[in-house]
Amino acid sequence: MSTETTERRVRPGAPSSSSSDRNAQPAWLIVTLREVMVKAKDRGFAISTIVTLVLIVAGVVFNAYMSSRGEDFTVAVTSEAGQSVTALADEDGRADDGNTTFTAIVVESEEAALEEVRSEEADAALIRDDDGAWTLTGRNEIPRSLSAGISASLEAYMLEANAAAAGTSPEELLAGSELEESLLEGNAEDQAVADVAGFAFSFLFYMASIIFGMAIANSVVEEKQNRVVEILATAIPVRQLLYGKVLGNTILAMVQLALYGGAALLALNLTDTADLVGSIIPASGWFMVFFLFGFLILASMWAVLGSLASRPEDLTSSSTPVMALIFAALGAGLFASGQLLVVASYVPVVSSVAMPIRMLNSEVALWEPILSLVIALGAAAALLHLGEKIYRRAVMQGGGALSLRKAMKLEQ
């Protein structure tokens, strides 16, 4: 053909195609950046992230407020004994959480004491009748912390009085009745923190796996449904498309996780409830790493599911196995213990939650999380490889939804 030479020389309107090439990024990176940008610009995603952030901070602040909120009680009493009981309650209240106070108003008569309550000058009236029986009278309710405080101090007061009458002392009466509590591992306070943190890990992993996993599957099925994938596949290797999607959504999930975690820690710090946070941080760091590996595995599964579906509606039925795996991870975080938890901490995906929880609960040798990570990494690599094979075949296939078996048999 005589035009052959011209064709090699020029392309229409091209100043120079080499200048384009020089600036070009690898295809997977372009896909990754687009996944991130499209999601970041999505108003729904931005709003849900901000709302969740606000809820987390509000939750921490509310919790701190509730636990530090003091109560001030006024008790109308008619006797010196009543005054002493109230003073004792006040002493305990201040010592306990430093915020609950009891003030006594001493009045002449029982009737006057009740009148104080009626007129809301006092929260309750503490009255001892002639038989020595004590009554605490409130207007229409008695706050639990008020009755608990008064009841405890009344017990102590009477114990003291009765002991004195019997010529002994409370200490003697109670000698040998103390029960010391101890834990073989950690302490009670740490255990409570570990439970909360474990719950948080499980839940964050569960949420992110579903939200971003679905996002991957939807973005794959969208391209398949719109046939954009046919144009994309002629421009770049399909493998790079898959990697870009998985990576982009993994980055989004990690950034969101870091945001939520950071907000929670910051709020804990600002509300001075941070004294318990110290023990969470190392486990949280490990959680981020495990999260990354677990999520990579799920991400390749979701991408395959997307490529098998022909419409987004197909995803609901085909996502059952992945959802089961995600539920297993959630369940391990919430319920597993002992030997089961140890096993779970080596099972890919489930280990993303189980291993950090083990590390919170007890001493775990360093090789254990590393071994678990290596297993997860191997699983991630294998699944990404397998996923790529299925994805490459299935994503070009029009028509109805495909089964995994059918997809493996397809030729491109």
């Binding site: 020389r9 229409p12 719109n226 144009i231 002629t234 421009a235 070009m396 491109q412």
Partner: protein, 293 residues
């Protein structure tokens, strides 16, 4: 020059494309015609590497095309595909970048193409907010964005209004003027007639005709129009003449060769005046109808 050699593709028992060979010359527009299900889309998908060929090869300047070659091709799939919920300009820039353009280059080229389709001010709009015809224009822009070295367009004109068809034709002519081979399928035979230098005709997966307009016309029956006075009825008796139609002074006849034509003319002049004696050039669509019967 793009060459398709013995391409074959089966789907189960059905052979969708059967040993098809043709050439898409550089700098020429090649029309790809055939009834629905003739195998045009399957052939184009194999050229683009989206579908694996069971036999045969696609050559570019004599050597097998690689994935890198295909990345420089412009492709418009049969089923239109872009992102409905994304702004037009953004997705064009994305596609340009995937075709190894820099972001700035892709942006200016996309803007340029949109302006040529009177969509310059709609770059920020989502694709789905455009009319179907305008979505089609964006689709065309997507295939031309990266200054393709070859254009493979599956039904590029369907759904376009006449103005858009003209813009599209101008754009395609710019590309062929630069030496780009263009293969496009169409059911609009008048357009194929108007645009094509070459024609490839498929029928039930097989090639039934391929070549330049002149090549194909040469194979078509040789017909002449004759207008004489007072009456053309006598041509029926003339030897070596197959009469297609006679009406009063006009006749359309089919002749074996040039000698027969000369003999007919002499006979006509002997019988009266000859007002017209001309060879009928069949249109490509007539050729298409002829071969695909």
């Amino acid at each position: 020059m793009l060459q398709v050699q013995n391409l074959t593709r089966r789907f189960g028992e059905n052979t969708a494309v059967d040993d098809v060979s043709f050439t898409v010359p550089s700098g020429k527009m090649t029309g790809f015609v055939g009834a629905n299900g003739a195998g045009k889309t399957t052939t184009m998908r194999m050229i683009m590497g989206v579908l694996t060929a069971h036999a045969g090869a696609v050559l570019m300047d004599g050597r097998p095309v690689t994935a890198a070659d295909r990345a420089t091709f412009g492709y418009m799939p049969e089923e239109r595909g872009l992102y409905p919920k994304q702004p037009i300009l953004d997705q064009l820039v994305y596609l340009g970048q995937l075709h190894r353009m820099s972001q700035a280059d892709a942006r200016s080229r996309a803007q340029d193409l949109l302006e040529r389709f009177q969509l310059g001010d709609r770059g920020k709009d989502k694709l789905e907010s455009l009319s179907l015809g305008n979505q089609q224009r964006v689709q065309i822009a997507a295939s031309l964005l990266h200054r393709p070295s070859v254009l493979i367009l599956d039904e590029p004109f369907s759904g376009l209004d006449p103005v858009a068809v003209d813009s599209m034709v101008d754009l395609l002519r710019e590309h062929t003027a630069q030496g780009v081979p263009v293969l496009f399928s169409s059911h609009q035979l008048d357009l194929v007639d108007r645009l094509c230098d070459n024609l490839v005709v498929l029928q039930k997966g097989r090639l039934v005709a391929a070549g330049t307009g002149d090549d194909l016309r040469a194979t078509a029956p040789r017909r002449h129009r004759l207008t004489v006075s007072p009456d053309a009825g006598w041509v029926r008796e003339e030897a070596g003449v197959t009469v297609i139609d006679v009406a009063g002074r006009d006749a359309v006849v089919e002749l074996e060769n040039d000698d027969d034509a000369q003999r007919l003319l002499v006979a006509a002049m002997a019988r009266g005046s000859v007002h017209e004696f001309s060879r009928i050039r069949p249109s490509l669509s007539e050729i298409y109808r002829g071969v695909s019967q």
